[in-house]
Amino acid sequence: MELGIFLEDAAQALATGILVGGAYALMCVGLGIIFGSMRVINFAQGDFMMLGMYATYYLATSALVGLFGLYAGPAVAALLSGPILFAFGWILHKTMISRVTGARVADMDGGGGYAQLILTLGIGLVLQNGGLILFGSTPIAVLTPLSRQSWEVGTVLLNQARVVAFVAAVAIAACVNIFLTYSRTGRGLRAAADNPVAATYMGVDVTKAHRIAFSLGVAVTAVAGGLLASSQSFQPYIGIDFVIVMYAGVVLGGLGSIMGAFWGGLTIGLVQQLSTLFLPYQLQNTTIFLVFLLIIFFWPQGMFGRVSERT
């Protein structure tokens, strides 16, 4: 019965898509925080995710996380990669990014927008190739016993490592959203994003707000990478594909909306898995790139985006 097989495949792709989509969603939330508050296109975001994956790998194989056991260990390792990459993002912003964003941008050629893109492209190149030097080019993964175990729900197999990653991703995304909505720091970030000049007059240190937003965004994406690492092999050049994946999610959700980034990322995960029903596996990424292009051409405001004025 061909239809039956197709339906089973479809159900499986749907389930896998949602589970993978969780990590994608969290990744997009990280990028969304940076883009939403600084309006900076960050080409190095995929490479920060890559660093998160390697950080998780080394933490998960260290004795420290051996304490948490084989099941919780990798998830804890992914979480711990957050603070490490937060510090990394902080230093990067302080030494480089802040010099081409914020108030200094105005007097640069072309408004400074491209300076930021090119700077992050350079940072990305150094990270990818530096990663190659430090970590080698052999693809690795954070393997746990869970990676090979599945729960069966009807005919659908739910990979346990992916389920853990999904639950963790959703929980972290919720925490980040609560933090940004209700905390004093979060409100400052949003004020700085809405109107940097007005925020300055209200006593918000915009540069510091941007630094927090940037570091937080880097950390969140890195944690997402760490969670993904238990079901996906990686090497230092994995980042660039995920840059498009992340922007597809963020734009689909609506630039500037954290909730939007989450749902956008989840949808992209789904699209990627569902595409395998109709298209060869190798064209997964091409599909996402095409979806991305379609979104920016025909639906640039996305699901939760605001209509922006044009002058």
């Binding site: 190149l125 190739n129 030097i133 660039i240």
Partner: protein, 601 residues
């Protein structure tokens, strides 16, 4: 527009550079270094091709690998499957590259800013996976021992250097030609301010399309030769981000917007990275990428414009042409003869026999839920100065944007000299005789006043000489003759405003839209500008001027239209409008009106 002698000089410089490369290629001892030189020249060509689009127009492409890769794969696949020699394969690759550029340009130029950058990044990556899926993971060019010359296969790598140099020289000559023509000037205008360029009558899409096709063609040719040189093509090596990045890295490092930039950048960075790779590549495999990454980070942080411009500025300052001295001299030069204006009295009545030149009926413009213009109707009479005033956010600039075609009105009709103009592009309206200035003046700082204005005079002129003549005419009309050859970066605010005015005047408009031309000027400077505007009106130009300060306008305009929250709240002679309580309320708030009523003033 640089002089003819400098054009000649630069042509000779290109020849000299080619000869130096050739000499170096002939002199270096091993074929290893000769291959590096051939690569330097090819990457310089890619950089120069990238510069034609991104350097001049400011639309930074992060996806030039798409053209390079298509050129490389056309050569490789043509040879493998159809036995096509690279002598024909490379021209074929150029055709493929130009076609791809035309398609990509047509689609992607609809996007701006971030979206343009991201879309360009996505194209080569999409094709990369497509080619891997189609089974072209690794395509080797077959070795033709029986007839190597016919298949562009040479024992001596120096032949490849010569071929690459021919390509680079061609690309540089074309770039130079572009730079010194209205093509290049139009691209620079787009880079500076695309909106202003459109309003100056430049068909921006046409020039951008030409630029990307030219750029794509040369990139594909260089990519094709690269495939011949390396004899093996893989999707990541020709469609990868590294290729796109290198195109912009060599150019930005060397100097963006200059034909020398890519040559300088490639000559420094490629040998450095290759030699380091040769020395330490076995221990530190990604060293080239690190070098390129660090080079571009350093450029952005420490020398925004790149090596060439830094050197040029340094040399010029050493020669003693310090800009500060020029500026001092400038400030002494007066701009226009000051004729005292009758103060306090309006400019006079609208002549009774005047006919409406511009007529808006029921024009509305909606942005999502916001009604920026609400059923605006107004008439502008020929030969008058028409003031449009209103508080911030009243919709004044939106009104201008709908008149000169940046925005289509959601409803209503706009007639200019009896002709319906809704739906026409800004450059078409400019040709019909509608000129405009902008609130924010953004000149080309490095270009002279004359060059800035020539951009505006390309409209309705066929020869460059005629364009220059019209530019001079406009310069005389606003009184900037003395500073015509000074770099715009050295002008005062008032002079910049006058330059902007001259740029709008250069196409000889019948109707001039002035957007806050008086903003940010000191009281004493105001009169100079007001004088120029009045003279223009006397010479037969109809003027519509936006301002939110009223007192200067009261002396200038024949007729006032007051906008508030997108609606016309008053329309008529200046004195009558200024006495209208609704106008006072819009400006000063309700309380003021009440107090004025109580005190009887």
């Amino acid at each position: 527009m640089a002089s003819l002698s400098s054009y000649r000089r630069q042509q000779w410089a290109i020849v000299a550079i080619a000869l130096v490369y050739l000499a170096v290629a002939l002199l270096v001892p091993s074929s290893y270094y000769q291959l590096i030189i051939a690569q330097v020249v090819l990457w310089a060509t890619l950089g120069a091709a990238w510069n034609i689009l991104s350097g001049y127009s400011g639309l930074v492409s992060f996806g030039h690998a798409v053209f390079w890769g298509l050129g490389a794969y056309t050569v490789a696949l043509g040879m493998v499957f159809f036995n096509i020699s690279p002598w024909f394969g490379i021209p074929l690759g150029v055709v493929v590259g130009v076609t791809a550029a035309a398609i990509i340009g047509r689609i992607t130029f609809r996007l701006t800013g971030h979206y343009f950058a991201l879309a360009m990044l996505a194209y080569p990556l999409s094709i990369l996976y497509l080619f891997e899926w189609m089974g072209f993971q690794e395509v080797s060019l077959p070795i033709k021992r029986e007839n190597p010359f016919a298949y562009m296969q040479f024992q001596d790598p120096r032949v490849y250097c010569v071929l690459a140099l021919v390509l680079l020289t061609a690309c540089l000559f074309v770039s130079l030609r572009v730079e010194h023509s209205r093509f290049g000037m139009s691209l620079l205008a787009i880079k500076q301010n695309e909106r202003a360029a459109e309003a100056s009558g430049i068909n921006t899409l046409k020039w951008k399309m030409l630029a990307i096709m030219l750029s794509g063609g040369f990139s594909a040719a260089a990519g094709g030769l690269y495939a011949v040189l390396l004899l093996i093509v893989t999707p990541p090596s020709v469609f990868g981000v590294a290729v796109s990045s290198l195109a912009l890295i060599v150019t930005l490092f060397g100097g963006i917007g200059s034909i020398w930039g890519p040559v300088i950048g490639a000559s420094i960075l490629i040998p450095l990275a290759e030699v380091l790779h040769g020395e330490f590549g076995d221990k530190v495999p990604g060293i080239q990428g690190v070098v390129y990454g660090l080079a571009i980070i350093a450029t952005i942080l420490f020398a925004q414009q790149g090596v060439y411009w830094r050197l040029r500025d340094y040399v010029r300052s050493r020669r003693g042409a310090a800009p500060s001295e020029a500026a001092v001299e400038l400030n002494a030069a007066t701009t226009a003869p000051v004729i005292p204006l009758p103060v306090g009295k309006g400019a006079g009545k609208v002549p009774a026999d005047a006919e409406p030149m511009l007529q808006l009926s029921g024009v509305s413009r909606r942005f999502g839920g916001l009604l920026a213009l609400n059923e605006v109707s107004l008439k502008v009479y020929r030969g008058t100065i028409h003031g449009v005033i209103g508080p911030n956010g009243a919709g004044k600039t939106t009104l201008f944007n709908t008149i000169n075609g940046f925005l289509d009105p959601s409803a209503g009709s706009i007639r200019f000299e009896g002709r319906e103009i809704v739906g026409l592009r800004p450059d078409q309206l400019c040709k019909l005789g509608i000129g405009r200035t902008f609130q924010i003046v953004r000149p080309f700082a490095r270009m002279s006043v004359l060059e800035n204005i020539i951009i505006g005079s390309y409209v309705n002129t066929t020869s460059d000489a005629e364009a220059e003549e019209r530019a001079w005419e406009a310069i005389h009309r606003v009184g900037l003759t003395k500073v015509a050859n000074v770099a715009a970066g050295n002008l005062t605010t008032k002079q910049l405003r006058l330059m902007e005015l001259a740029r709008a005047l250069a196409p000889r408009p019948k109707l001039l839209l002035l957007d806050e031309t008086l903003a940010g000027l000191a009281e004493a400077e105001l009169d100079d500008i007001l004088n120029v505007v009045r003279q223009l009106c006397d010479q037969g130009v109809t003027v519509v001027i936006i301002e939110h300060t009223m007192h200067a306008m009261a002396r200038l305009a024949h007729h006032f239209t007051v906008l508030d929250h997108g609606s016309v709240i008053a329309d008529g002679a200046p004195q009558q409008v200024l006495a209208d309580p609704r106008v006072i309320e819009a400006y000063l708030g309700k309380r003021w009106v009440e107090r004025a009523a109580h005190t009887g003033t």
